[in-house]
Symmetry: C2
Subunit: 358 residues, 2 copies
């Protein structure tokens, strides 16, 4: 029995995939996800949070832990360099006896010492794992992963991850990263105006409502899917979400009806789709192949109603949820699952069987 | 000796003006301002904060305290109704023995009982006091007050406050309220893209940098003027502000130079001016008089470099800082100063002398 961990340490969410193999076949997959906003809980708590998640894995000692991260962007760190180093330290503190490997933007699995030498190449490499997974499904394809906070778009061309950007800044420029997500995006960062009684009305710049409120109101997610803190600390009922959305135009449910609030929500949703469409345009403009005729895989909590919808609007013909191939739990934690699989193959020295659902 | 208090209880800042009169002449003016973000400190702390500010006034017992508020919009309250009632309660708790009056959007000074009956008319009436003050300077004019968080635009026509919107929602629609300010506005709520090396780059939707960072970098404010919390809890040096602004495009000072960060800052500033210009267009489109030929008074911490600059760009010929008439302290707390003066006149039953600096 071989046990491998795949970690995706984000600034707001930490995801852990545990893959068990018998011989060259995957025999078991478990996914753990925890909401851990490092800027609220504090960077000093990170090692303990990681440790408590390892403990949930159970008694078998893992043979390898592979790690990717995006938490270094959090402003609890002055720079990515400082963030990457602190995250490496935290991982070592949490898993002192394990063999550790850090993914870099070229798809290599670096030792902690190597990773410390190249912090900017270890920063935000999680998209590589997702692209690598997609390349196992189709030689040429697109992977779009819309998580709670951001959307990652990874082109795969002829079996290779073909991303242009090798850091978050380059990815924003290339249309490979869009800071819009299904749960935690500030509505005021999605739209500058919303329609109210036919008038295009400027919004408040405060953090009054987030995308989770929009998708709850529109029926895209359930209260159970709303796995992040609300902006006001209140609950995730329709009325509470509607009150938050009303506040975006400095109103409340005395001033706006539920219908009027839903009109605002629909508009914000369209704007999110517009953000993804803009990125797809940037990305495909600079690619030599026309990806629209290739498969597009969608993943993440907003995979279907944000990524999938936008891809179809853009003209992609063959849009498939990644969950159909790896299950819905793994599809919500794609980089973590993909990295665990990558690490297992790295350990075994060859491709594994049974990693697909079907 | 008559002593009057003018309170402006905002969600992020509380301002208190104390006016002392001898006979019918203002003999002394004192301004107190405290940063009190109610959503961070907690609504239950509000009465104690108000009480501690009253204690700073000194030994003379005030004859009247007039109050205006915008804190009811904070999401520590479910609705404005709830917020107004809690603020009235807090004021009564903090000043149990004083005669209290609450400003409403029609310019009336209501007793606490009357205010409780009309919570939506007491909500966000502070602009009325500012407009009333401007009307004492010019029969027909415009008052633009750019504070830390938002900008209030109040037209005065033939001696009367001529605002169309009577609540924040209507004011957003009418161009009388713009949620952009000189210190605390999330950069991601001002711009969706910024230029980086000639590429229009989408920004992160997180709260990474605020307008105070922009204006510090551009030399519009000093570190002393930066009187609000920073987004990352770090200091207000140029380097710390630049690191915050770099993070808006997911970068840091390893990836972007100071010059590149300043290019971003200039762009964000232009966008803020654009927000004010849009509001001026909305507002003047619906007015019958051409205000451009009348005086425009600017106030607030961003009065000159945001409000004043935008007014000149829009075509206003006669733009004057309000500080020239009431002093710079009062001009940074215009609604509070104006309300204190309004209350003093209400108490005396006639116009007072000596309220102008010159």
């Amino acid at each position: 029995m071989t046990v491998v961990l795949g970690w995706d340490i984000g600034g707001a969410n930490i995801k852990l995939t545990v893959i068990r193999c018998r011989g060259y076949a995957v025999s078991d997959v478990k996914i753990f996800a925890e909401y851990f906003p490092v800027w609220k809980r504090g960077r000093e708590k990170l090692p303990y949070k990681l440790k408590s998640m390892v403990e949930r894995v159970g008694s078998t000692r893992p043979d390898l832990a592979a790690i990717t991260m995006t938490a270094e962007l959090s402003d609890v760190y002055f720079s990515k360099r400082e963030g990457v180093n602190h995250i490496i330290d935290s991982v070592e503190k949490a898993m002192p006896t394990l063999d550790l490997r850090f993914l870099d933007v070229h798809g290599r699995l670096l030792t902690p010492d190597e990773a410390r030498k190249h912090p900017l190449e270890v920063a935000a490499a999680n998209w590589y794992a997702s692209g690598w997974l997609a390349s196992k499904l189709s030689d040429t394809c697109l992977l779009v992963d819309t998580g709670s906070t951001s959307t990652s778009i990874v082109p795969v061309v002829e079996g290779k991850v073909a991303a242009k950007g090798l850091n978050d800044l380059e990815k924003l420029m290339a249309g490979e990263l869009v800071y819009t997500g299904a749960l935690r995006t500030n509505v005021a960062a999605i739209v500058s105006h919303v329609p109210v009684r036919g008038v295009s009305t400027p919004v408040s710049s405060e953090f009054f409502a987030q995308s989770g409120d929009i998708h709850l109101l529109l029926g895209h997610i359930t209260a159970e899917d709303y796995t992040v803190d609300t902006p006001d600390g209140r609950g995730v009922s329709m009325v509470e979400a509607a009150a938050r959305v009303a506040r975006v135009v400095c109103a409340d449910l005395d001033l706006l009806s539920m219908e009027e609030v839903k009109t605002i929500a629909s508009y914000v949703y369209e704007a999110q789709l517009g953000q993804i469409l803009e990125a797809l345009k940037r990305l495909t403009n600079s690619l030599k192949v026309d990806l629209k005729t290739s498969p597009a895989y969608v993943a993440g909590v907003g995979g279907e109603f944000i990524a999938g919808k936008a891809l179809k609007m853009f003209g992609f013909k063959d849009v498939k949820p990644l969950s159909r191939f790896i299950g819905s739990e793994a599809a919500k934690a794609t980089p973590s699952y993909a990295l665990a699989l990558m690490a297992a193959e790295f350990l075994k020295g060859r491709e594994l069987r049974n990693w697909r659902l079907s």
